[in-house]
Every structure is written in C-alpha cells, then in structure tokens.
C-alpha cells in the first residue's frame, strides 16, 4: 500500500532511478500541480521520483520491459492509480507478454490489497485477455477464506463475474454450503446461493428443497436476518410468489411463535404474511382477524421486541389500516 512509502524509503538497497545507468536516457517529468495547489501530498522522495519517471515514460509512449517494471514499482506505491494500471495493460499488449506471469503477480498484489477496486479490475481484464478463468475460483476462495474476509465484496463480485462469464456454476453450491455452515450469518454466502439457484432455475423441487434447507438453518439460529431474507426471497420465486405459498413454512413460522420465539425477523415475517393475506382476501370472514393479528404484532414489535424500529412498526400498522379502508382493492 501507499501507506508504506515512508518505511520503504528508509530501505538502503533501493537505488534511485537518477543513479541507474540503464535509465540515464530518461529525463524525469515532474507533476504540474499548478501555481497554488491544494490538498498537496507530502510525497516521499521515492514516490516523487518513481512517478516523475513514470510520467516521462508515458509521455514518451515507451512500452518496454523496464517500463513494465516501473509500473510495478509505481503501483506498489499507489495501487489506486487507475491510469498507471491502464498503461501497464497497454505495455502487456504491446510486448505480447506472458499473462500467466501477470496472474502470478496479481495473486500477490490482491493478497495485499484485497479491498482495492483497481487490482480486481486489472485481474478481470487479464482474465478476459487470456479467455481463461482457470484460477479465479481458487483466487477468490483464498481471498474469502482469509481470516475475517468471508464477506469481501470485491472477491464475491469477481467470483460471480467469473462464474457468469465462464459458466463455472457446477461446484458453487458446494462452496456456498461450506461457507454457510461455517457462518450462518454470512449474508454474502446466502446471496451467492440465490445467484446460483436463480441460474439453475427455481423449479418446484428446488424451491421445496431450499425452503427446507433454510428452515433447518433458522431452527439453529432463529435470529438471523440473512436466512429469513433468503426464505422470503425463495417464496417469492414460487409460481404465486406469495408468502403463504408453502404450508410447511407457514406451519414452521407459526410453530416458532407458539413455542415462544420472538425474534424480530420471525415477527416481521408473520406481519408480512398476515398483511398480504388480509389485503388479498378482503371479503373473507377472517379478514378482520388477520388485520388484528398484524396490529397486535406491530404493537409488540414497537413496545417489546424491536423498539428501535417502533416508529416503523406503527407506520406498518397504520399503512395497513389505510389500505384496508380504501373502497375497493386493485391489488
């Protein structure tokens, strides 16, 4: 990272470009920051010199091995410089370089800068140039397995892109299963599960299996928003797309409630379930009863189980009242 430039500068083995024979033909080009610059960075001497030479090389349009090495050094000092990354790609194309080496280089750079947009973008372009995503699942798996990084947005995004572009869906569910079993609250993994199954198709059998899978996880950790959101998402994939599409899920959720569970996510689900029915079966005799359940649950949420959202739950109850008082339903 650029943050390390101070300490690097203390290193003794670094020879300034101005003292290197093989760079004697290059005149460094300082940055033109205007007469009265603002937000000036107190660049280290090394940073300044590397970028002075970088500008000189770009202005010359030199695309050579030494230019490539210079970009390595510049990007080590500032991996967020998207123009230098682009110049590096232009060099690689010009030299017809071995891109496998570039992937190896990137393995290390990504390991050190796993949350930097430019490095992942570079990786994507190189993989596109090679038209080969052989190493992408392993790369992203390593990034996600790295302690505390199982939700790294960049890694997931890259992984999805590789899977989508190169049709690598085959073993993904297995990977997702492992991550969810390691941490049931890993929302990224649940999202990836949805992504894979959406591709494979939410057939009635898949929906049934997924609902079962999710209910089994909720049984273990009831207060887990990720699993509840996924459950609702899958129910919406059913032909009717409604929360009461699966009698098993209705029974399951009402059973949890009867057994005394008061997880806000369970209660929110029941509120949505009853609300949806109340609005759809407005002529039914139990309509008022359904609405009443919603009001009671909202009241309990606001006063006991989800107090931080008390204004929201009052709003939900009011919203339903308003909708039910409208003369006719166009739902």
């Amino acid at each position: 990272m650029g943050d390390s430039s101070d300490e690097e500068n203390l290193g003794t083995d670094w020879l300034p470009y101005s003292e290197r024979d093989d760079w004697a033909d290059v005149t460094p080009l300082p940055q033109d920051d205007g007469p009265n610059p603002v937000v000036s960075i107190a660049y280290s001497p090394k940073f300044r010199e590397v970028f002075d030479y970088m500008r000189a090389i770009i202005a010359k349009g030199e695309k050579s091995q030494r230019a490539l090495d210079l970009t390595t050094e510049a990007l080590n000092l500032n991996p967020a410089n998207y123009t230098v990354w682009q110049y590096r790609r232009d060099i690689l194309r010009e030299l017809d370089a071995d891109l496998q080496d570039e992937l190896d280089y990137l393995d290390e750079v990504i390991r050190q800068n796993a949350k930097n947009y430019q490095v992942w973008h570079h990786r994507r372009v190189i993989v596109q140039m090679m038209n080969c995503a052989q190493w992408e699942l392993e790369l992203t798996q390593n990034a996600l397995d790295n302690d505390g990084n199982a939700k790294n947005y960049h890694a997931w995004q890259h992984r999805q892109w590789a899977i989508r572009t190169f049709n690598l869906y085959d073993d993904e569910l297995e990977f997702v299963n492992r991550l969810i079993s390691e941490d049931q609250r890993n929302n990224s993994a649940w999202n990836q599960r949805f992504f894979v199954l959406k591709h494979l198709g939410f057939t009635p059998q898949v929906i049934e299996r997924e609902l079962l899978y999710t209910m089994n996880h909720i049984r273990v950790i009831k207060n887990n928003e990720s699993a509840w959101n996924y459950l609702v998402g899958v129910l919406r994939q059913s032909p009717r797309g409604q929360l009461n599409s699966s009698p098993e899920v209705v029974q399951f959720s009402e059973g949890l409630y009867s057994a005394g569970n008061r997880s806000p996510y369970l209660l929110a689900f029941l509120i949505d379930l009853y609300q949806e029915q109340a609005l759809q079966r407005r002529e039914a005799i139990d309509n008022n009863q359904l609405a009443q359940k919603v009001y009671t649950l909202c009241e309990d949420m606001a006063t006991k189980h989800d107090v931080i959202r008390r204004k929201y739950w009052s709003y939900v109850a009011e919203h339903l009242k308003t909708q039910l008082s409208k003369p006719s339903s166009t739902e």
Binding site: Q31, N36, A80, Y82, H121, F194, K311, Y312
Partner: protein
C-alpha cells in the same frame, strides 16, 4: 460539568478545523489517495459548508481551490475521443514546455465520473457559476462511458463499471441540467436488474445488496426523474430493507457491523423514499458521536478508530438529517447542502433563460446581470485564468 444524561455535544469547531487541515498539506502516508485528491476537497469543502463554516476558507484559498479544480478539467478536441470531465489529480499532468511530450500525455488524460461529480460539487458549493465548463463536452464524456447494459464506467479507459458510476453519471447530468445522449432507459433497466431478493440494490446485477449501492441506485433514480417508476409495493419492501439496517447506528449489509458512513447512505436512501422519520434518531446520533474524536475532531467508522475526511463528512450529513443544531440541511441525492443546491437551481434557471447549451459551450463569460444575482459567483472574476 455535564450531566450524565445530557447528550454529548457535536464539536462543531473542531470538526471544521479538522476538515480545513486536509485542504492544505497531506502526509506521505496518504499517497495512495493521490489519484482521488478532488474527493478530499469535496469532503472538506462540503463538510465546512454543512458546518456553516465556509467563512474559514479565505478568499485566496477559495480562488486557489477553484483554480486547482478547474486545472483538472479535460477538454477533448474534436478529433479525440469524448473523454471530457475532471481528472481529480495531477499525476498525468507533466511540468514541461515540450509540445510533443504534452501531446503524447493527452492520450492518458481522461475525465473520471467520480472526480467530475466531486469537482463540480465543490465548485457549486463554493458559489462558482460553472461558466468555465463546456457542459456538452462533459456530458458527451458521460454518455461515452455508458455500457450497453445501461451501467457506466468511470472513464474511457481502464475502469470497472457499476452502480457507483451510475450514480455519478446521474449527478453530473442533473447538476449540468443536460442529459445529452445518456440513455436513461437502459440506466433504469440496469438499476432494476440489480435489485435483489431482499430488496436492497447490489453494486452490479446479482451481487449482494449493499447500503452504499442502494443509495447510488435510489439517488440515480431520483436525479433522473425515474423514482416514480417504482411501484408502491417495491418501495415499501426497499424501505423495510433500509430500516432494518439500523442497529444503533446503521450497517451496510445484514449481519455486518455498523459504521458511521451508513448513517448517511441509509439515511439519505430513506430520505429519498420519505421514510427517514421512521428511524430512531437518538440511537443514530449516539452511535455517530461514539466515533467522534474529541481531541482533534472528525468522525471515524468505529469508536476508537482513526477519523478521516470521508467518515467526518458523512457523519456530519447523517447528523444533519436528524436536525442537529448548528448543521445545515443536506440534499440527500446530491450529497451536498441545500444552500449549494439552491445556488445550482439558480444556475439552471440562468442557463434555461439564456441561449442554452451553445451559448455556454462557446462563450463562458456568463451574463453580468445574472451573475450579480447569483450568490458569490466567480464568473466576472478576472483573477481566474485557464491553466
């Protein structure tokens, strides 16, 4: 002595001094921010504005900031690809008289949507009249980086494309009151394709729903006049996802820790959907203040973490939404003050009343009578020369 029950104060003047410092010299450890210097100006200037402290920026400093910002403007020639916009840094501007070298360097000078957005926002906040901008050239640059799927890259070469740049594209076109050949329909399609099963928006397509990208999506819909295309049920479900992000402060995704910046991203999203009043203001405020650095000012993402301009600015905006005394109102979708937005609307009226786009792209001198009515305009200032 403060009563234990009394809420902790927001250290307004310390925050102002903290932000002011970043406008001057930054330490070497911030070298990795070299390519995004204009975003630091944005956080500092817009933060000072929200703090009602722009008076701390001296007239000379103000001129310097405006001139430095315009110095990053890329204006392509007719025979060059449409890469108009701001660079946000000077790494690709060499100090040389050599015409050949300067010419070669142009191939690597492109506007960047995030830098263009923040640069224009800074100019508007400082009361500049944008008369030195060729609006068409910039919006041509925006249209050039739109992808067939409706998404946007940051620049013509070497950038990823995702919801962040959809947002930046929308802010730029909205601020310049001109959409040119930007395709709002495909933009809308891309945004809606990124709405997830839990009703947050992802960075792109089927990624995980995220607070920052949900903000980008909703703000882009509002700024492009397409928010009312969301049906009532969808709006309620998005509100649910957003409201559920509150723990005390706000988190960016389910089961992630809270972070000061989401008081803005989620708060602004809810403001756009007119649901912010459904949140718990006191808990939100208390969390943001737990990340306040009492010694040097500024807010951090977490308590005891190091403050930075990004979290400082977004923390202030988050507090402004709850009506914190001493802070100016913030316009959610553009992410700067309502006062700056009022100035922008005056510019729009002026542009619409005058001869329109051609007038501005050829003659940037502005209209003297109108300039007089526009707050703190710089259009008539002879001090400013092109760099």
């Amino acid at each position: 002595m403060t009563d234990a029950k009394e809420p902790e104060p927001v250290l307004l003047s310390k925050h102002a001094k903290n932000l002011l410092r970043f406008l001057h010299l930054l330490p070497a450890r911030m070298s990795s921010h070299d390519s995004t210097r204009s975003t630091i100006v944005f956080f500092a200037i817009c933060g000072l504005d929200v703090l009602n402290s722009l008076n701390l920026v001296t007239p000379q400093m103000r001129e310097d900031i405006i001139n430095w910002t315009y110095g990053g403007l890329v204006v392509p020639r007719d025979d060059e690809k449409p890469c108009g916009g701001f660079m946000g840094c000077r790494a690709m501007l060499p100090q040389t008289e050599d015409a050949h070298l300067l010419e070669c360097m142009r191939q690597y000078q492109w506007g960047h949507l995030a830098m263009t957005y923040t640069s224009i926002a800074v100019l508007v906040t400082l009361g500049d009249d944008l008369s030195r901008l060729d609006r068409k050239s910039i919006v041509d640059g925006v249209a050039e980086v739109q992808r067939p799927d409706g998404s946007f890259s940051a620049c013509v070469n070497g950038s990823e494309d995702d919801m962040r740049f959809v947002y930046c594209a929308a802010t730029i076109c909205h601020m310049l009151d001109y959409w040119g050949s930007v395709n709002k329909e495909t933009m809308y399609q891309f945004i809606m394709r990124s709405l997830r099963y839990d009703y947050g928006f992802s960075q792109e397509l089927e990624g995980e729903a995220h607070g920052g990208t949900t903000y980008c999506a909703l703000a882009a819909l509002e700024l492009s006049g397409q928010l009312d295309r969301l049906d009532a049920t969808t709006v309620e479900r998005i509100k649910r996802w957003l409201v559920f992000r509150q723990m005390d402060g706000f988190q960016g995704r389910p089961n992630k820790p809270v972070d000061t910046c989401y008081s803005f991203w989620i708060g602004a999203s809810l403001r756009i959907l007119k649901g912010f009043e459904l949140t718990d203001y006191a808990a939100n405020r208390e969390y943001i203040l737990s990340t306040q650095d009492k010694l040097i000012g500024g807010f951090a993402k977490w308590p005891q973490a190091t403050p930075d301009p990004f979290h400082t600015y977004l923390g202030l905006c988050g507090l402004a939404f709850t009506g914190e005394p001493g802070l100016s109102a913030v316009m959610p979708s553009l992410n700067f003050s309502m006062a700056a937005h009022a100035h922008l609307k005056q510019l729009h009226e002026h542009w619409r009343a005058s001869k329109g786009l051609c007038h501005l792209s050829i003659d940037g001198s502005g209209d003297a009578t109108d300039a007089a009515t526009t707050k703190k305009t710089t259009s008539s200032s002879p001090l400013i020369s092109a760099q």
